[in-house]
Symmetry: C2
Subunit: 640 residues, 2 copies
Amino acid sequence: MAFRDYVSEAKALFDKLLPDNQITEIDYEGPTIVVYTKNIDLFSRRDDIARQIAQELRRRVMIRPDPSIMEPEKEAEETIRNIVPAEAGIQDIYFEPDTGEVIIEADEPSIITSRSSDVISRIKEKTKWSPRVVRAPPMYSRTVKEVREFLREVKAERKKFLHDLGLKLNQPTMPGETWVRITALGGHREVGRSATLVSTNNSKILVDCGMLNTNEIDEQPWAGAPYLYVPEVQPFSSLDAVVLTHAHLDHSGLLPILFKYGYDGPVYMTAPTRDLAALLQQDYIKVAHAEGHKAPYESKHIREMLKHTIVLKYNETTDITRDVRLTFYNAGHILGSASVHLHIGEGLYNVVLSGDVKFERTWLFNPANNRFPRVETFMTESTYAGRDDYQHSRQEASNTLIDIINRTFDRGGSVLIPVFAVGRSQEVMLVLEDAMRNGKIKNAPVYLDGMIMEATAIHAAYPEYLNKTLRESIMVKKENPFLSPIFKRVETKEQREDICDSDENQIVLATSGMMNGGPVMEYFKAWVDDSRHTLVFVGYQAEGTLGRKIQRGATEVTLTEGGKQIKLPVRMAVETADGFSGHSDKRQLLAYIATMQPKPHRILVNHGDGEKTVEFAKLIKSRFGIEAVALRNLETIRLY
Amino acid sequence: MAFRDYVSEAKALFDKLLPDNQITEIDYEGPTIVVYTKNIDLFSRRDDIARQIAQELRRRVMIRPDPSIMEPEKEAEETIRNIVPAEAGIQDIYFEPDTGEVIIEADEPSIITSRSSDVISRIKEKTKWSPRVVRAPPMYSRTVKEVREFLREVKAERKKFLHDLGLKLNQPTMPGETWVRITALGGHREVGRSATLVSTNNSKILVDCGMLNTNEIDEQPWAGAPYLYVPEVQPFSSLDAVVLTHAHLDHSGLLPILFKYGYDGPVYMTAPTRDLAALLQQDYIKVAHAEGHKAPYESKHIREMLKHTIVLKYNETTDITRDVRLTFYNAGHILGSASVHLHIGEGLYNVVLSGDVKFERTWLFNPANNRFPRVETFMTESTYAGRDDYQHSRQEASNTLIDIINRTFDRGGSVLIPVFAVGRSQEVMLVLEDAMRNGKIKNAPVYLDGMIMEATAIHAAYPEYLNKTLRESIMVKKENPFLSPIFKRVETKEQREDICDSDENQIVLATSGMMNGGPVMEYFKAWVDDSRHTLVFVGYQAEGTLGRKIQRGATEVTLTEGGKQIKLPVRMAVETADGFSGHSDKRQLLAYIATMQPKPHRILVNHGDGEKTVEFAKLIKSRFGIEAVALRNLETIRLY
Ligand SMILES: [Zn+2]
Ligand SMILES: [Zn+2]
Ligand SMILES: [Zn+2]
Ligand SMILES: [Zn+2]
Ligand SMILES: [Zn+2]
């Protein structure tokens, strides 16, 4: 097969369709053919024309204005500030040269858009940029800002990377027998260090690259990582693409080491996953250093990841290798979490990897999508797939939590809630804000320690990923529950010590969620021997974590502090408020499969405790008559 | 862990045990520590002392005389010819400097050994070589001679290779989690292109590297080879060891391409397997060229294989990687065929790969061994494991064949028997010789075309691998059935044409056994439209071969000749004489497992037609309660 020259083909198509196209450049940008034009008319009809050309070419096409006809960014910003009325309250203006858009963040976007016929058209005419007016995010996220700035800095490098990737994607597929395999590299028959390789005769795609944060990590350092040293993924430069389902560290935590050890290809994820992952990875390095560990990678490797990240929206299909197309679908689990649909070959085979999945509408998100164009093999998590893993409803969960807090406050104690920064934190915040506003709990400070506030701000930056109710309330400042004065960010050691020493009723949400490190440990150590206080678990506690031990009733725990072992008797109350989980419970997992369209031919069960995954596979087989197995890590199954 | 210095350790042990050891050199030679000494006394007690040192060292030790004290080979040969009486009938003298032995092949070895106190001791005294007197093989094998000469030529290279291998074997094992995996690369759920990877956290061992000779090879060239381009075995230089179960091309056929594409490590097999494999591979190249195909490797790659071959006897245990020990056991299938026992780690795990296996005493061999020191996972072939795969007894098989021949002769026809050069040929020859000698068939020439005679001669060179009855009769020239005058070697095109045109009763044994090429095709084309002749199948016909099609009753076949397709109606009689198989039938496979010691925990079924392997796995599970699966090619299972 010949190497297809999409550039020439595209040019010919444009010339035929629109002889006066004034095209100045056509280039590959990853999977997309990017066309630059000086023809304003062509540019204004770009969506229609691009669709038409793309159909003929069978490649995504994007039409951009030639930079020479645009007002330079600095001058354009000036122009816009002069045109827009002051009462619109411009918060930020930034340019996206890739689309020719200028984003105007304003407190009152309607003031600009209601008189749009005038303001918008004047901006367009003067600057040649297309204005997109959005409500200014109600919370400031340092992460969102920094990621955006970093990507602007490395724009030239990214352009080259995307160009080279485009060339690679256009190579012809290899002749020969076609096959599809899945190799379990981590997170199979266990929770943590998720990593799954999907390979074909043409492609190697790694889905997730997480870490397992156990407290046994010091004795068995290798147990924290997926099996990344096996020949299937070595050298990392042999991988064609990496796909990230969501930002939790058990999925994203070791992604930067791919870049440390030679990977140089694309990483596909949603935009919020990118920002959340960068935040959590950065925090992981910080916590590791604070605890005297050495993190297996540095900040520069996170930046390498960002540089190679290609963000996709839900339901948007993209060629990611010569023979595989990727589509993300909402997984309902955390902000930006996605199920991965891989379409292999020309109609040859379809695999869906659910990622972590919540098949229920939560306070934050819509339920996971379970309808796909085609699915032959479906891989599902099974965190709560055990015999008795029925979770309480969201309402019961919040009642339980309120009750626990009230009892603790009554006896003069405080409440410590270990949480992941992302997901559970925001749900618990919503419950607490609602309860205090409605007098179900007396007003008390809710301290947020360890990236929780920053993670919450990232939610506010991506309202389109939230469910409708929350999206609407969050965008109105005075109704935004996250901005309630009950929430207080903990930022210094002194603040933390004051909270620990205080005799007031307090609530502390602190990371990490499974108590294998992080600021939560400071509060725990301070309060563990005082029976007035309560430790409340709201999320999944994995095997091998301190959280699991305590939840199971340990009356004494051993911690390492400054290299020394200290023994602590557990005297504070320990409770669990279940129903907050971001994972589907057994009923929801079964409902997902029962209503899934189309029915898969084979189901692989992962992301669950050892035997639980095997049992759930048997249940699926008997309930639905679908072949189901739970792979062991290091096993490979052939799908086609 | 430190790199262990066995050389210094060995030296210290010798010095302690025998201060006057006169050791001149200690070196690694593969898994063995080789010690050279000038002390004749130490050398003569070498077996005892080596055992003692080996026990302390936990490494195999071999003591050799220092070359400087030995008479040079040429002079020593002269000396020996002078000492040995002429009536002993010396046929050959050759030296094995590795062991300090001189092998004297004589027609009447007893003449030398009966007066041994004199002749033997005089040779020893004069030459310092240790004489080993053996009966001269009754047949001349060009292959055995050429392999022996080639190995002498590349002695220096081999010494370096073995030295480097020794160093590698002494490296400490990697720390970290230990695991054992099996990857199916070919010959799983099919017969042909056998290749299985056994890997641990320290080793990658490829067992077999065969080819699939189908007639569809031209349309799907990749289908003939195992999946050797997958990352698990790429680059080939990442493999630590290759093990060959037996010489059949479906196991050995593509082994030389490992060396063509970068493998440079050891290949373990028995001595007869080495010679037979070289013969069959060389013949494969020749046949491919004759048919206008290009073989995927050349003679020089076979020589590379020979250069890197380490031969092991049955029941002899050898370290082949840092964490794996190999022992071969008799598999009863063809000359030198072995079951592979891998002992992994220090008592961690044991895997047995049966190879092709015959669990019945045949005219040639003892039944396969099914007792092992330990076995957790057992991989078995299942060629005849289907529902109705009961084979006739050896006696019934020969009666059927005799009957077919007599009926054919009666109607004035000839008999064509497609055979593999190795295994079935020799059994059929024994039956024919016996039948003609006893008047059950009238005397008629039996033509052997395509390496059959040469393969038979290799059997005669390794009598210790044959069963006792045959071993004894073969070593007496006048009783040797293979030397019967009924057998005639076909060596030229003219001879072949004469046979094809003759109107006499004749029997032709010709390769290949499944009619996918080779000289058998010439006879077939000449006789196919004549109903007096008979085509008799005596061996397994794999899916996709011409043999299978005809056996199943095809009334017309299409062949390619000089690039053109020719259609031939099948008018000659087609019969099958079953019971000659070198494979266990269903009953024998089940008996093997039933009496196996110890019982394995898991059984993998391979080397059988698609669904048959899956059914047989189910049967094993229900019959013996042992977990059993049939992997698909490209799948990996974790054993530990
Ligand atoms: Zn998650
Ligand atoms: Zn997870
Ligand atoms: Zn065989
Ligand atoms: Zn075979
Ligand atoms: Zn070499």
